[in-house]
């Protein structure tokens, strides 16, 4: 894929990452072959082989907002990450092949404001190409605190360097983060939807024709109710539960639905196939189901981001946010 910008993250957003594997000298990652422990030099050797355009620096991400972190642990995550960063920067200087790659500095510090600010300020002093805001995932109860933390952190970062965030991918959460200065997100949400046999159908058309809005509202309402009921039933092997941004094509009601997944969507799946066909493919466990769903879900999700960019340019983000919020359960 020579036309794309390649970013190498430390962890796979959809795989579990057991805690307790970070030391002062190394960080462990998990893959098909099991656990791989990396010191800064081993990590940089791998980056030299991969030669990505950007890569997340080796970092200690175990102090998250998910569980209450001790100040001590939060401090350690910041200290270690800065040490890793300095080591990696030095190794990058010595590597010719990595001159064209950019190191992304990682902001740590758990849910401790003081540590987060320290991490942001110190990382910003280094010659990094951008910043990754790590460990900001959590539960709805901690949402307010986390968002507040996020705002405080981004305020410390230079305007002209990109801000990435990991672990956040759902449309409503994405918008909250964008309002607080985040630029780049992982697209694992459409992937997870695909894995559970679901198609993204949420609307991001914040300037619709009034009659269409009404029809959509009617449609959305019916589906939201249905979702509330089915959410309680057991989920598939996928970790995450289905959201109100999607429809579950395995449901019997799609058996004879000859509409495309989303009317007007220009993806290959919507231009060529129906909900009934996708339902059949899912029920018969056919490989093509995932292929078609992934095509649609990416198209839809990237369409959402296109809408965000346009809304920002025309100063209408509030409208888009309101629309998305209405569809969040």
């Amino acid at each position: 894929m020579p036309e794309s910008l390649l970013y190498c993250s430390l962890h796979d957003p959809v795989s579990p990452c057991p805690a307790g594997y970070v030391t002062n000298k190394s960080v462990s990652v998990w893959g098909v072959g099991g656990r791989v422990e990396m010191t800064a030099s081993k990590f940089m050797a791998i980056q030299q082989a991969l030669q990505p355009d950007w890569f997340q620096c080796l970092s200690d991400g175990e102090a998250t907002c998910d569980e209450a972190t001790s100040i001590k642990r939060a401090r350690k995550s910041v200290d270690r990450s800065l040490l890793f960063l300095d080591n990696c920067l030095k190794l990058q200087e010595e590597s010719e092949v990595l001159q064209k790659s950019m190191i992304i500095g990682v902001i740590e510090g758990g849910d401790v404001m003081e540590e987060r600010l320290r991490s942001a300020r110190e990382t910003a002093k280094r010659p990094v190409g951008g910043f990754l805001l790590d460990g900001f995932q959590g539960t709805p109860t901690t949402l307010e605190t986390r968002l507040h933390l996020l705002s405080s952190v981004t305020a410390e970062l230079p305007e002209h360097k990109p801000r990435l965030i990991c672990g956040v991918s759902q449309p409503d959460e994405v918008l909250e983060c964008i309002e607080r200065g985040v630029d780049l997100f992982e697209s694992f949400f459409p992937y997870q939807a695909t894995e559970r046999g679901c198609a993204l159908t949420f609307s991001f058309d914040y300037q619709p024709i009034p009659e269409e809005t009404l029809l959509q509202q009617n449609g959305t309402q019916e589906e939201v109710n249905y979702v509330d009921q089915t959410k309680k039933s057991k989920t598939t092997s996928c970790n995450q539960e289905m959201t109100s941004f999607e429809i579950n094509l395995k449901e019997k009601k799609y058996q004879e639905d000859f509409d495309p997944l989303v009317r007007g969507c220009r993806c290959y799946c919507c231009k060529n196939h129906t909900r009934a066909y996708l339902h059949h493919l899912l029920v018969t466990n056919e490989l093509l189901a995932g292929v078609l769903l992934m095509m649609h879900n990416f198209e839809h999700y990237f369409g959402f981001f296109q809408a965000i960019r346009e809304a920002l340019k025309s100063d209408r983000l509030a409208q888009l946010k309101e629309l998305i919020h209405r569809q969040a359960s």
Binding site: V32, F258, Y268, H280, T284, E286
Partner: protein, 403 residues
């Protein structure tokens, strides 16, 4: 049991086959099928898309590979999603959005091979659905009814299928019953103008039974004939003799469809014996085991030897997989936790089969088919004389020598 002769032939079955060239030595022919969803060059290999999908690849990908006819499966589709729904979706073509031709088999083979609790009577095949436990009867009439709803361009008669390893009176019973079921299928067929009903020659490995079946079935004026009941557990020696016997007695101006054959060597030999159409799950199935088909056999890409092999599967192959990816990349994908490799390999293996058939056809048209066969065997086995003896015999029987 004597045949109650009532050759209910179709008034005037469409002549769907146009011969373009014939090999002057062997029985190989190149032709063109004129079907409702477009022409199909023969000899042709038809990939099997059992459940209204080609195992992970899109209709667009299949079209881009040059496929103009593929198979759907009446047994599977008849159960899920069922003929009524497919009819609402504007037939199988509409349901899977396939613009080219479709061939559906009758469901007979699956019934017998997949379902342990099936029982064959004169009425039809009675079986229990594996999905909801309901008992159903697949009769000739019901099979044709389902296939009429599916709307495929070629439909197959329901035949009484018996494994080629079975001997004794059951084989004869099945052969005569298949004739009677052919007549019932012809009578039940509601759309002869839109769908071409093929007969299936049975008779097992018994030359006399096969000859009888051929004689009777060719009295019926169907648009095409399939050679069934082979490519099971029989020896290759018996296999080719039954194919040769069949093609010698089938009309020249109608297509000969050899069911269940798909290994490269078998395809080449059976074209020499006079067959025009083939289907087999092998190329698509073997792809899902990490196996890539090449002119010298196959590559087991999961094996360590491909870990750092940066060549494409086949440097001569023009398929998207070979254009873009290396063996090493596919090897790594095969050892990952996602299905990506399977899609790439399915694309390549179908491309391989179609390319082989194209090459066979070109050689017939250009009057060099025997040389093509020799080259093919040389590449596959190292030397033409090293090809399996059954193939050597079969080719010799139609005037092609390999030594």
């Amino acid at each position: 049991m004597a045949v109650v002769a009532s050759p209910t032939s179709l008034e005037s079955a469409p002549r769907i086959m146009k011969l373009v060239a014939e090999c002057s030595r062997s029985r190989a022919r190149a032709g063109e099928l004129r079907l409702p969803h477009g022409p199909v060059a023969t000899p042709v290999f038809m990939p099997v898309g059992t459940q209204a999908t080609m195992k992970g690849i899109t209709a667009e990908q299949l079209d881009a590979l040059g496929c103009r006819i593929c198979l759907g499966n009446t047994y599977h589709l008849g159960l899920r999603p069922g003929p009524e729904l497919i009819q609402k979706a504007r037939g199988l073509h509409g349901f899977m959005n396939w613009p080219h031709n479709l061939l559906t088999d009758s469901g007979g083979f699956q019934m017998v091979s997949l379902v342990s609790l099936s029982e064959v009577t004169e009425e039809g095949v009675r079986f229990r659905s594996p999905y909801d436990g309901d008992e159903t009867l697949l009769s000739p009439e019901r099979s044709v009814e389902i296939q009429n709803a599916l709307g495929s361009d070629i439909i197959m008669q329901l035949d009484d299928v018996v494994s080629s390893t079975v001997t004794g009176p059951r084989v004869e019973e099945a052969m005569y019953r298949s004739i009677r079921w052919l007549d019932r299928c012809i009578a039940a067929h509601q759309r002869p103008d839109k769908q071409n009903l093929f007969a299936i020659i049975q008779g097992g490995l018994d030359a006399d039974l096969r000859a009888t079946c051929l004689e009777e079935m060719t009295k019926r004026d169907v648009p095409g004939f399939a050679i069934g009941g082979l490519s099971g557990g029989e020896s290759k020696g018996q296999f080719w003799r039954m194919v040769a016997l069949s093609t010698s007695r089938l009309p020249k101006d109608k297509p000969r469809y050899l069911m269940g054959v798909g290994y490269a060597t078998d395809l080449v030999v059976c074209v020499a014996l006079g067959c025009d159409m083939f289907d087999c799950v092998f190329p698509t199935r073997t792809a899902r085991f990490g196996s890539a088909l090449v002119p010298t056999g196959n590559l087991q890409l999961k094996k360590k030897q491909y870990e750092k092999d940066f060549r494409p599967i086949d440097p001569e192959c023009a398929c998207p997989t070979c254009q873009k990816h290396s063996r090493a990349f596919l090897h790594t994908l095969l050892h990952s936790d996602n299905t990506a490799a399977l899609h790439h390999l399915t694309v390549h293996n179908i491309a391989y089969q179609l390319r082989l058939m194209s090459a066979v056809r070109a050689s017939i048209v250009e009057k060099r088919f025997p040389d093509f066969v020799r080259d093919f065997m040389g590449t596959m086995y190292g030397d033409p004389t090293l090809c399996p003896s059954w193939a050597t015999e079969a080719l010799a029987s139609v005037g092609i020598t390999l030594g």
